[in-house]
Symmetry: C2
Subunit: 327 residues, 2 copies
């Protein structure tokens, strides 16, 4: 397998945590990796090759213009490594929009795909995660794109989580067919016409925000504005509730003792709800596997992201998406 | 004060929990109440007057057509009591859309208000709740309406939570001014032109989904589709995380013992995050105070809803909203 190109400069903890995660992927799992960035700043990279890139796109830079003007940035060079056949996939914890723009502009769209979308796994208390897309690539969407998001999401749900026959839902504000915005109503009608059993999937109609963390659907499609609001609302709610709990756990000697006794029961929950366990979001629809990790990723998140990238390359995710949208 | 009209038939626990909450409001807090519904089904209502209404609009009935055709329903009769000066406010835990439609069709809009909106208090771990609106009244919105939502939300935040100078945010997918859907960009420009200090409020620009439960803004405006998705996503996340915790707390003898020791520290959190503590959502923009309680409301939620209704009547919420939108 060609190596996974890892943007060594992207993310709040770059480059140290990125290099550490890359080394673990090579040393613990035998996954080939190439780091992209400023060689001088990377420290000890072990046996890993480095593609030199002198520029770094900041976390808050404008995605379009930075990708156009910073041609020697680690993100652009990582995408070019995939385009030119030097790498099989790219992984970045950097600027989400710039990661997407680099992949899109350098590797291009899969033939037949109107718009790539960001697919984010949402863990629930039981079952496999629900794949939400578009989680923010396209603030404005056409109804036909949502049908492709559903096709791509179903392929991803199978490849990533082994779901045999993914249940596809459309995010709306009521379960009945007539509920929602004009876009949702139009998308509902188009989604309802597709022969989903031929695609090995099942259409379950509208779902609501409360179903995202429940075991109701395997794939939930929406426009990138609504998807991003829902995702961030969910992350914020989880973070605020967990922080409040941790404060309560540390509020007295008695509470601390009780919390210690609960630790064995709480540890698996933490693992399940922790975003780091899932390696990040995936850009679906470009000619190359592209993983967008959380900006706060530490080494374990990078290790997981690189592992997922390698699995998706081996499982021919790109070929399968091409097959699904052109069926 | 004129009595608060309480829809005795609306909600999953009607009529028993509704009647119990109404009795507590009268007996414990001295708030005048009139119950609306099928007198024969209400049991012992104590000294409370009943407005007879023979029909009940089901929780899943179509709001528009049921309000038009079921003229002797408890919801329509409650709204008429407000319109005709027999009640000062209405409270229902029934069908949300039908509650809104009854209030809108019977009492009408405040002069100058384009569209009423549903305002929902979102509790966070610290500070006062953030008021989210529109939480679902208008699936499709015009940018000008969002400006009115902000004005109405600011009035409500002051009246309900005593916020001196509410911070107003616009829900988007990035904090920069240019981020978001076309509606958001247009609304941003309009909101940015308003002299908020003259309204005793402060405009803080875009906020994101993660800010809803944080202490970032006091009022967050959005269209009713996005607002409803965000609200239900948040409710679903909270419910799923809390259920997972409760299971963990009960998973072994040691866990149960630890949980018991944590109880004193967790009880205030439960109170803070529990929707019942806030009495429900408020319909803003109609000529009458109208509270839409959660369908699952028990007696304490109804008691709180009736108390809030009474406070809002005494504080002249309707008059203040009229003043703000016509300033």
């Amino acid at each position: 397998m060609l190596p996974i190109a890892v943007d060594a400069m992207g993310g709040d903890n770059a480059p140290d945590a990125i290099v550490a995660g890359a080394r673990r992927a090579v040393e613990e799992r035998g996954i080939p990796v190439v780091l992209v960035g400023r060689r001088d700043e990377l420290g000890d990279v072990g046996d890993i090759d480095v593609i030199e890139a002198s520029e770094v796109i900041a976390m808050d830079a404008d995605p379009g213009s930075s990708v156009r003007t910073m041609k020697d940035s680690s993100l652009v060079r990582a995408a070019e490594a995939v385009r030119d056949g030097h790498a099989s996939a790219m992984v970045s914890a950097g600027n989400t929009g710039a990661t997407m723009a680099s992949a899109l502009l350098r590797t291009g769209r899969i033939k037949g795909v109107s718009r790539p979308a960001i697919a984010t796994p949402i863990p629930g208390p039981t079952g496999e995660p629900t794949v939400l897309l578009d989680a923010g690539a396209n603030a404005e969407c056409r109804a036909e794109w949502l049908v492709q998001f559903a096709q791509m999401g179903a392929v991803f749900s199978k490849a990533r989580f082994g779901i045999d026959r993914p249940r596809i839902g459309l995010l709306s504000i009521g379960e009945e067919a007539g509920k929602g915005s004009p876009l949702v109503k139009e998308a509902w009608a188009l989604l309802d016409e597709v022969d989903w059993s031929a695609q090995g999937a099942e259409w379950i109609g509208n779902v609501e925000g409360r179903d995202l963390m429940a075991d109701e659907a395997d794939v939930v499609v929406t426009d990138g504005f609504t998807g991003n609001v829902a995702l961030k609302t969910l992350e914020g709610a989880a973070k605020n509730i967990i922080n409040a709990l941790l404060q309560a756990f540390d509020s007295s000697d008695e509470a601390r003792e009780g919390a210690a006794m609960l630790l064995p029961a709480l540890a698996p929950l933490y693992e399940r709800f922790n975003a780091d366990s899932y390696g990040g979001a995936m850009l679906l629809g470009t000619k190359g596997v592209c993983i967008i990790s959380h900006g706060s990723s530490k080494d374990v998140a990078m290790l997981n992201a690189i592992s997922v990238a390698s699995e998706m390359v081996n499982g021919d995710l790109v070929g399968k998406i091409a097959g699904a949208v052109n069926a």
